[in-house]
């Protein structure tokens, strides 16, 4: 035992050993360092730019571009019609959401009648607005005389087109490959494994080059085009498809289709609810099919056919009419799809295998059919494992679509590169690229995180 009085008084901690002060000091030093670095970079950049005679700023964007773009998409004009189009579409979605919330609410404890009323009013009013504003939306397209901004927006639309298509197609293909990999059939399983292992171990740029230089550019010339039922033509200038041409009344037709889809959705929801309450399955399929066919048919009957097809026809040296998919577009979409589908297949396969075998056996014990077990028991549980890695694959597609520059598809990076070479405004162009991709990445992550949170296992 020691006497406390005889112990030396606790040493006062000098301030430079106080963790809080140390942390503050360390951060201050780092901050000063970063600011100094930024200053040096800024000064050097200014000096270099003046040396090369390059102006800074985004003023160049309103100059005339003057170069050609291989694939031109229509850009919606920012006018009142466009705004009312967007606003009414959002109104329709919100109205549907309210109705949906009303329907899935439990019976009894004060069902919110207000939600029903608001939903119905919002839905019908917005649908009306939507119908009138479709025809008010005007579009314009890029020409040589357009500005750099228009060129960049065209590139952005092309990027989005490829990314969305790539995400959808690679998911579908990946699902099929994954199911093939899980099949009890030995040959099919081995084939799926080979597909995955071959495709994911080869760089994506190589995939693009393969599809572009070896497949789509080696298709026969225009005069010897391969055709499918004389409506779809393949040649080395692209793929020619029939194009639907809309008549005056197509808006009403679309509204009718949309309305019938909404009715079918609510019929299905209602049927499911009734089954939950009474155990009996009310007839859903027949009324659904009836609505789905009758409503658009009725519109057609009153207003005539909403569209006809414009078929591509060989005239002179090239095809006229129809819709053209350029070889660059085809190569980019196919290459990205094949590459990413291998990863998606692996993600889906491991997700499905992560659901314990007991779940399948329990489903069989309840005498559910194999397809039903897959849909109702396995997939909902597997999705929780699948979604997070799938999100990064979707992000990878959006980012890898920038490889379009290597095969000359006019996406955002490719057009930006042309502008960069023409104007020398490298910092601004790269800044635009990075900002746009950051926004796209952010939107995809937000969307997928929302979905992930929705299907997450809620633990009590």
């Amino acid at each position: 035992m020691t006497d406390t009085a005889s112990m030396p008084a606790p040493e006062k901690i000098p301030f430079w050993r106080n963790p809080t002060i140390r942390a503050c000091g360390f951060q201050a030093v780092m901050l000063v360092g970063l600011v100094l670095l930024a200053l040096v970079i800024y000064r050097n950049t200014l000096a270099n730019l003046t040396l090369r005679g390059i102006n800074t700023g985004f003023g160049f964007l309103s100059n005339e571009a003057g170069f050609g773009i291989g694939e031109i998409s229509a850009i919606p004009m920012i006018n009142p019609g466009f705004f009312s189009f967007v606003a009414s579409a959002m109104g329709v979605a919100l109205g549907l959401f309210l109705l949906f919330r009303y329907l899935i609410q439990a019976e009894g404890n004060g069902k919110n009648r207000f939600m029903l009323g608001a939903g119905v009013v919002l839905f019908t009013a917005s649908l009306g607005c939507f119908y009138t504003s479709i025809s008010m939306v005007e579009t314009y397209t890029y020409t040589h005389a357009s500005t750099y901004v228009t060129a960049l927006v065209t590139g952005l639309i092309n990027t989005l087109k490829v990314s969305v298509l790539g995400c959808v197609l690679s998911t579908i293909l990946g699902l099929f490959i994954a199911l093939a990999g899980l099949s009890p059939n030995w040959l099919l399983k081995k084939l799926a494994h080979a597909y995955i292992e071959i495709n994911r171990n080869i760089p994506v740029l190589m995939h693009l080059f393969f599809w572009y230089f070896i497949v789509f550019q080696r298709l026969p010339g225009v005069r010897h085009s391969a055709s499918l039922f004389d409506t779809v033509f393949f040649n080395n200038r692209g793929v020619y498809l029939p194009r639907p041409v809309f008549q005056e009344n197509f808006a009403l037709f679309f509204v009718a289709i949309f309305l019938s889809l909404v009715i079918v959705f609510f019929l299905w929801l209602h049927g499911r609810k009734r089954q939950g309450e009474t155990g009996k399955q009310p007839p859903v399929l027949i009324p659904c099919l009836g609505v789905l066919i009758a409503l658009p048919a009725l519109v057609c009957l009153f207003t005539g056919t909403p569209f006809h097809f414009d078929y591509p026809v060989l005239k002179g040296f090239n095809f006229k009419g129809g819709m053209t998919l350029t070889p660059e577009f085809m190569a980019l979409v196919t290459g990205l799809t094949v590459y990413v589908s291998a990863f998606n297949a692996e993600i889906i396969r491991s997700g499905i295998q992560s659901v314990s075998k007991g779940q399948t056996e329990a489903g069989r014990a309840l005498s559910m059919s194999e397809g039903r077990i897959m849909r109702k028991v396995i997939l909902p549980q597997a999705l929780r494992v699948i979604i997070p890695p799938m999100t990064s694959e979707y992000l990878a597609i959006a980012k890898n679509s920038s490889l379009a520059v290597a095969i000359g598809y006019p996406d955002l990076v490719s057009i930006g590169g042309t502008i960069l070479n023409q104007t020398g405004q490298s910092i601004e162009v790269i800044g635009i690229w990075m900002t746009v991709y950051l926004i796209i990445s952010l939107l995809i992550s937000i969307g997928m995180n929302w979905y992930n949170a929705k299907i997450r296992l809620i633990q009590r």
């Binding site: 360390f26 970079i41 270099n48 040959l187 084939l191 171990n201 490889l403 290597a406």
Partner: protein, 362 residues
Amino acid sequence: MKTIVEPYHGDRPPILKSGALNWMKNNLFSPWYNAVLTVVTAALVYILVTPLWRWAVTDACFGTTPDVCKGSHGACWAFIQDMWPVFMVGTYPSDQRWRVALAAGMVLLLIIATLFRALRKKRLLHLLWILSPAVIFILVRGGETFHLQYVPSTQWGGLMLTVFLSLVSMIFAFPLSVLLALGRQSDMPVIRSVSVAYIELVRGVPLISILFMASVVLPLFFPPEMEFSKIMRAMVGITLFFAAYLAENIRGGLQGLARGQYEAADALGLGYWKKMGFIILPQALRIVLPPMVNNFIGILKDTSLVGIIGLIDLLQVAFAATSNPKWLGKIEEAYLFVALFYWIMCYSLSKFSRILEERYQL
């Protein structure tokens, strides 16, 4: 009444049916639809593989001159036989290629030595590993002081460039990513936000934009008299890009460690760097070794993008070789050859990562 259960009277378990025929019956033809599936798949494989086989093997021609391929429908492997040094080292002077071969042989020897468990702990081996990058660099680059012909980096290419770029980027990205991962886990708000901003910014943009930035904008950041070679710029871009991805992997390892490890280190009164260096990182890095190998596969595949900013890597060398007037338009052969190289490298690395994963799970 129909008997449902047949009573079993034997005292032995039922005989397991085996043999090739039974295996086929169970795995290929058991319900009728499986048989249909097998036939369709087999037909598909036949349709896909036969023309490829005929092109690549049956009708192929070998040799070293373009004449052997005249009038043949098959692959012209003579092209690869003639040009394969170009695929390996690009435009590296042909009388100096032995230096690259020597460097590759040295690395191979080191790897083989490391595979022996007994040698792995030897100091000498560690020293050789640490010295090897400098030795290889001197050997490949050359220069007056070493009595070797100087080979500027503009002449480096092919497989050598691909491997060089990915290895060097990995080596430089690793310490940077450890710092970023630690920064992201740090309690200090400034450091954390700087790390988070860097990681999320880089992960949100495509590699090609970073490469463009490194090749066009980076020289603007430095005084005009400083000059960077193209390879140097590409390396900076790839390093900065993959450091962010690697940092996220390492963060996973840091988070996967039990809290007790952190607390034990604190209880021992270790400072921050000692805690991280001796307790946390050695364990965390071991957990993330397999994902780090996968990350390296990603680097290896994505170095093919440097072709877009004008370097002649393994993929671009295929174009360069087929533009040789002697071998014009032999692009299929070049592609298959290059694809095979990428595939062998990436596939063996992914197998390696899986072996590591299994070993550490025990």
